[in-house]
Symmetry: C2
Subunit: 541 residues, 2 copies
């Protein structure tokens, strides 16, 4: 690793804008950067629908940035911060892999610079202030049955999904139903990632709807008068974090909403900071193009005044094999037939990106067990369908393994594309959701439960309907049923709740049985973690 | 402020042991310090029973260190980290006051270097892993009705004191009673503050009792096998934090258990790091001498191999006036009679410190409204009772206002004292508690509820009784009833629960109606907090 001061200098960040966190991490104060707007190109990396076989999206994102760096482009990679929930649960780490990683891996995967903790704290300070307001006389007449603000933890903790609080008698609060979300699904996280600056952050926080009065009127954070305190709790966290890739490319890692239960993109503050400093910003959006990329296009790009100059879709032979019906236990065996069938998942994501007016580039991310015959199925399909494709081998080779992809990216990013969001936010809520289901998921229709329909009526009554939609949907399928792999058709998506997030400026639609608080698996990754005698981390990968 | 690298150099901390957090904060890696044991003297600062009038204990602690620094002594001040709970609630800040403060005040009061967040995370990771173990088949046969491990937040949130979790059906966990403590009351915080090194930290975590099986056998963290992961979550936080006073005296701030519901002292890691570097370490223990100082003597000093070379008791005329019956609204008026009566509170704390074999020094901390006649009541009482006393005016004058106190401290710290804890840990639990109640609180006896008696039987059955006692008691009174000010007598303290904390190596006794999760007041300090247009904090003081 090179000292972070060197990386900062390379990125053109002046000393006075830098706040060191040890020798290899720093926060960047955007107020102290040259504030000229930028003509930097944004390259979005997305993927096919994920499977347990893995597609290596973060790895390709980092590897592509390193490749552009090798080609002497002025490039910064912008990524999300990992959540401790999946790290303790399934994954054990989230910083890319092999020779395409961001460093220092331990720190980034553990508490990093504390941003998620600050978000958790602001979220829960608001919750405590709401319950305290009720306890101290409830001047605002908040109906404890109609509070929609939930508590949160950066943890996978299913036992906190549905709880009853305030038990124990009058001194201990008012009994009511409540629940914890994972921090990455908090509206504070969304606001943190969508706010342009500290003033915008505070304004958005003041606009959060926390619940309704006994008279069914909405109650906002500004009614409680605590937006200043919550903004203060986020002040330092709101500065983007600078680290580096293994090859010394500057990386800005900031904000980390999941793409299934939230909007799935790193902060606008990070992307815009990177755009001020570099000519090319490589960024990723979470899970498949149906989730992160859709929200990048319809939410982040619109709110941040960005447009993607091109979109890379990461695909692997292994994952397409699973989409074609192969079992997880048989992925090492050649299976041309399964890939031939499974490629329909990739085809759908290509169609989706084209629906946004952007021509995608496929990154065919090589795994050691892939056979040439398997790979040629994908290459041939791309040729036949006029889809750009580049082979990548960044896990093994770092930036060198991404040169072909980088060259393809460079060949198109200076051309104007026809990027446009899929819907106009002034359309009715049901229409906007239907557009996403049909044009992005490839489904037939949407079913709104009675509860969702009532919520829509209420949202329209208050005039909050002219906002984009943030779908909460399983990442495993294009539909809302996790077991439907490949390219399902003729399905109907069920929207069971519509929740206004006026601070984030979007409406969340919960589909299927997606949970905003994940659970831990039978054998959590935590069981393998340790610290050795010299204080080194064990079990993060 | 001077750059923290300068402060480190002054303190004799080598570059390689320093991890910068911005320009004015750093973590110290104790593994990279010279490990020679030290003959440094430890000066403990405690106080009379606190009142809303304030006694300025942190201010005097910092001012005394600055005064010793002015006298060219090699001194470091070791303090606790503030909790966001009281900052958002009552106090708005906790870094001393006036010209006797630690800096940077904003950072220390907000998230600082994230230590409390790491402790919260480790505490709640354990809770999630326990509930997940039950959900995934419960091989250990943990009885959900007998889990004693609670969740925590660094927040005053009374609605979380008594909750029911795991509602919503079989996929969402097992319904059971639970509750949140404030982070500073977590056993992880106690362990963090009492562990000698990373190995000891891990060993103690593995020894935590989380609950009991259906067969009523204890279940330890080691049975779950997650002590490695929890230690990893604490690894970086466990390094003590270096900051500075306004006058540039090195300050180590690390760990922050409250003294009413926990053991009330900064970490042994911090105190021992300071002892390696300085000749004199000035440290404080929370609230009055009945709480923080008692636990410093009986718990921290014993576990850390320390002894206090002298003890300073901070007193103010205003607070003694309240102990003598003056109303909070009448404190500005001279009231010699009330002080003459209220001095009995100070007298009890003097007796207490003498019971430990140490001769205390009173710091008479001046407030602007004190009259000379009021102060002379206290000075005369000290003279008549052969108690050392020094006037301090550090809020207004910084170290200069503490020179008289510093000189008195210097005149005694090289003499051997007869320091000894008040009880032998091998005595029966009831005896140890009775000793504290009689010799420290000045009470007559202890009443154990049936529940507490049953718990004692169980603790003895498992052989866990040879541990010191950590009393949880109101800070406002020497008794367990907050409204009994002054020096109450002939009272009985009720112990309603006895909770084994085998990782911390003490037994917690809950008395009266003390809560391990505080609530917010009617007008929380949060209402006045804000960030100005330049990003400066408003409303922290």
């Amino acid at each position: 690793m090179r000292p972070i001061t060197e990386i900062a200098e390379k990125a053109g960040i002046p000393q006075e804008a830098l706040e060191l966190y040890g020798n290899y991490k720093a926060k960047i104060n955007p107020l102290k950067l040259n504030t000229n707007t930028s003509s930097a190109k944004v390259v979005l990396v997305t993927a096919i629908s994920p499977t347990p076989a893995g597609e290596g999206k973060s790895t390709v994102t980092v590897g592509l940035a390193d490749a552009l760096n090798q080609l002497n482009e002025k490039v910064i990679v912008a990524l999300r911060e990992p959540s401790l929930g999946p790290i303790m649960g399934m994954k054990g780490g989230a910083t890319g892999g092999g020779y395409a990683q961001v460093l220092p891996m331990d720190d980034i995967n553990l508490h990093f610079t504390g941003d998620l903790h600050a978000i958790t704290t602001a979220n829960n300070a608001l919750a405590a202030l709401i319950d305290n307001h009720i306890q101290q006389g409830n001047v605002l007449q908040i109906d404890p049955r109609r509070i929609i603000w939930k508590r949160c933890l950066d943890m996978n903790d299913r036992a906190l999904r549905n709880i009853v609080i305030g038990l124990g008698g009058p001194v201990q609060g008012t009994p009511r139903e409540d629940g914890f979300d994972i921090t990455v699904a908090s509206e504070i996280m969304a606001i943190f990632c969508l706010a342009k600056d500290l003033q915008d952050l505070k304004k958005r926080i003041s606009d959060i709807v926390i619940g309704y009065t006994y008279q069914r009127e909405p109650v906002f954070v500004r009614d409680l008068g605590v937006e200043g305190a919550l903004t203060l709790l986020l002040r330092d966290a709101f500065k983007p974090n600078l680290v580096q890739t293994i090859e010394g490319t500057p990386a800005i890692i900031h904000g980390g909403p999941f793409a299934n239960i939230a909007h799935g993109c790193n902060s606008i503050a990070a992307t815009n900071t990177a755009r001020k400093l570099a000519d090319i910003v490589v960024t990723e959006a979470g899970f498949g193009a149906d989730l992160g990329a859709e929200k990048f296009m319809n939410i982040k790009a619109m709110q941040g005044g960005l447009k993607p100059s091109t979109v890379v879709i990461v695909a692997t032979a292994r994952a397409l094999k699973m989409h074609g019906g192969a079992l997880k236990t048989e992925l090492k065996a050649e299976n041309v037939e399964a890939i031939t069938k499974g490629i329909e998942n990739l085809a759908k994501h290509v169609d989706t990106i084209r629906n946004f007016g952007v021509e995608p580039i496929i990154a065919l991310n090589r795994f050691i067990t892939d056979t040439e015959e398997e790979l040629s199925v994908i290459l041939n399909w791309c040729r036949e369908n006029n889809v750009k494709i580049a082979r990548t081998n960044v896990w093994e080779e770092g930036g060198k393994g991404g040169i072909e992809l980088a060259k393809q990216v460079l060949s198109v990013i200076n051309e104007e594309n026809n990027f446009t969001p899929l819907y106009d936010i002034s359309e009715p809520i049901e229409e906007k959701v239907r557009t996403i289901v049909q044009k992005v998921y490839g489904g037939m229709d949407v079913h709104f439960t009675d509860k969702a329909l009532k919520q829509i009526v209420q949202i329209e009554k208050f005039g909050w309907d002219a906002l984009p939609i943030c779908m909460a949907k399983t990442q495993y399928s294009l539909s809302d049923q996790p077991n439907l792999l490949g390219r399902p058709e003729n399905f109907t998506v069920t929207v069971r709740e519509v929740i206004p997030k006026l601070g984030a400026k979007f409406l969340v639609c919960l589909t299927g049985d997606i949970m905003t608080m994940p659970g831990l698996p039978k054998a959590p990754a935590a069981l393998k973690m340790d610290v050795d005698a010299d204080g080194n981390a064990v079990g993060l990968f």
